[in-house]
């Protein structure tokens, strides 16, 4: 599979169809994968693809990376979950479909803790998103890899969803204590925002200080405001790539809050993010029949 990928990348660069291939490469010790930007056909050998390829590379297609945009038309190596994010970006007019070339990779799952992958992909070492993946055979310009036979469960399963169910059942005080403890660890490093391809606001609300809506200090009050605001802004857009939780240096379970909202949006508005780039994100449209039994 890797060889086909390298061939394809070399071909695209030689023909001049793309100017840069954004993909995964090894780090120095070959223990982690890291994003690489291949501009010369001869460097295509650096590309790799394996379950350690966890990054969501669609981040580099967003507007803040002006120097990458300046390189020219990109081809992006993307797993199914990454392509979902690209679909949302297209639906929000951040990129045009014809401006990029998507090299889709069939994927059986990724592993976050690199030392756990010893060559065999066992379900218990994969994150929740992979257990529920229904895009293992992605839609792309070129698909590399063999077709995978996997049916995602009808009801979302896995650690994240079990925890959400558990929290839904507990009392208000228990929920508050749970979140209070987690959000207290937030250091306001904004890694969650920086790594999220959908957090592309040129000026984040957290950076506005006239007035200061979200306090930048890492105290409990400022942390709760920041995390709730970010979750709300991702409602109906988050495609569960899981990068925010992976990047968080304080291990805050961000997937819980983002996926809870995804479930709410699916129930209330019938929308699942990332499957159709022509559909508007749910929070900018409305339906006359939206439920209002909570409104007096």
């Amino acid at each position: 599979m890797e060889n086909t990928l390298r061939q394809k990348a070399k071909e695209l660069l030689e023909k001049g169809e793309v100017k840069v291939v954004i993909g995964y490469g090894w780090n120095k010790q070959k223990t982690h994968t890291t994003p690489v930007f291949i501009t010369k056909p001869g460097d295509a050998g650096k590309l790799v693809f394996n379950p350690l390829c966890v990054n969501n590379l669609s981040l580099y297609l967003t507007k803040k990376f002006s120097d990458i945009k300046a390189l020219g038309k990109p081809a992006i190596v993307a797993k199914g979950c990454d392509i979902k994010t690209i679909a949302v970006l297209i639906s929000e007019s951040q990129i045009k479909r014809e401006d990029i070339v998507i090299i889709g990779m069939t994927c059986n799952g990724v592993v976050y803790k690199q030392e756990l992958w010893k060559g065999e992909l066992k379900p218990e070492i994969m994150p929740t998103k992979c257990h529920n993946c229904d895009v293992r055979n992605p839609l792309a310009d070129f698909v590399i890899g063999e077709k995978i036979d996997f049916k995602a469960p009808d009801e979302p399963t896995g650690m994240v969803f079990d925890k959400i169910k558990g929290l839904d059942k507990s009392s208000n005080t228990e929920r508050w204590d749970f979140w209070f403890e987690h959000f207290s660890r937030c250091t306001k490093c904004y890694a969650c925002r920086q790594i999220c391809p959908l957090c592309y606001c040129e000026r984040c609300i957290a950076e506005k200080n006239m007035p200061q809506w979200i306090e930048t200090s890492a105290h409990q009050r400022g942390n709760i405001a920041w995390n709730l605001k970010r979750a709300m802004d991702l409602a109906g857009r988050c495609t569960f790539c899981g990068e925010c939780e992976r990047a968080c240096p304080a291990n805050i379970p961000l997937n819980l809050v983002n996926q809870k909202l995804a479930l709410v949006v699916k129930d209330a508005f019938g929308h699942k993010a990332g499957y159709d780039e022509k559909v508007h994100p749910p929070m900018i449209v409305f339906n006359m029949e939206d439920e209002e039994d909570f409104i007096k």
């Binding site: 223990t31 994003p35 660890r185 490093c189 920086q194 930048t216």
Partner: protein, 340 residues
Amino acid sequence: MSNKLLKKENLGKLIDALTSEGSIFVAPKMDAQQVVYAPVINAEEIVFDYIVPVNSFKKFLFPQTEPIAEFNINKEGVVLKGIEIEPKEIIIFGSRPCDAICCSSLRSVFNWDFKDEFYNRREDKAIVITVACTKADDSCFCTTVNLTPDSPNGSDILLRETTDGDYAVETITDKGKKFVERFANIFSLNSQVPSHKPIADVKPIAGIDVKKVKEYLKDTQHYENPLWAELARKCIGCGACTFACPTCHCFDIVDEGSAYQGKRIKNWDACQFEFFTLHTSGHNPRDTQYKRWRNRFMCKFNFYPNKFSSRGCVGCGRCIRVCPVRLDITEVMEKVSNQP
């Protein structure tokens, strides 16, 4: 070399003695599935099997967020009050040599043009007890930046693990000596010479020559080398490296409150953030991410050592471990060392 021994079983007594006096005992502990420096109240909480904790202990000397002044507006006008801190004694147990040395770097910047009492008072009351490293991982590179896994620099007390599972004690500073004397009943005298566990063998990375790196950075022509864009293009500007780094010290001052009362607060800041050098005119001298990353590299190996004559990088490897895109500072050092 002192002949004192600290038995692991006496750690509990040490913690009790200190916390009963109101001191804070910080040690590596497990929190949210990772090892971090945090206050502990009993010895069972301490983790002994770790390379380095994910965070550095600078947050106990230079907090993430702290109020530095208070103001309120009443009938008479504005009443501004500076905050005077009276920190409790803080014992940092289980520090590593790469962490302990950060104190001298932080002290240089916080006493450069203004004596920052918020840092100084805390550091005066802090006692750093370092445990020399018996193992390392592939992100450690202290020897590449001229440090060793058992360097006493910056520590008050250096502990070396013995094969029995206890610690051989070596006092480095006066503060350390006084501490050991204060708890003479806990630091036992050892009659035989303890056999130490071997110190970790961290080989300096072959392709890196720190002197060459510094020389390269001195030449302002090299600033515009396209090498920087290639190496740091993948940086996402998250700030995780800055917050985990023991020597990074940038801070931001903000005012929080309402129209009639509030606080002036000092928070951690990072040169990786987009608005770090954003001018009010809208111009940003470091407008793309690779320029901001270049700044971090230059700060560590050029600006900081030149300005403060102390270390910018201690080789702990935290930035490498915590980076979501695995941008490896040693790879950049290697490329730069090999530039013509």
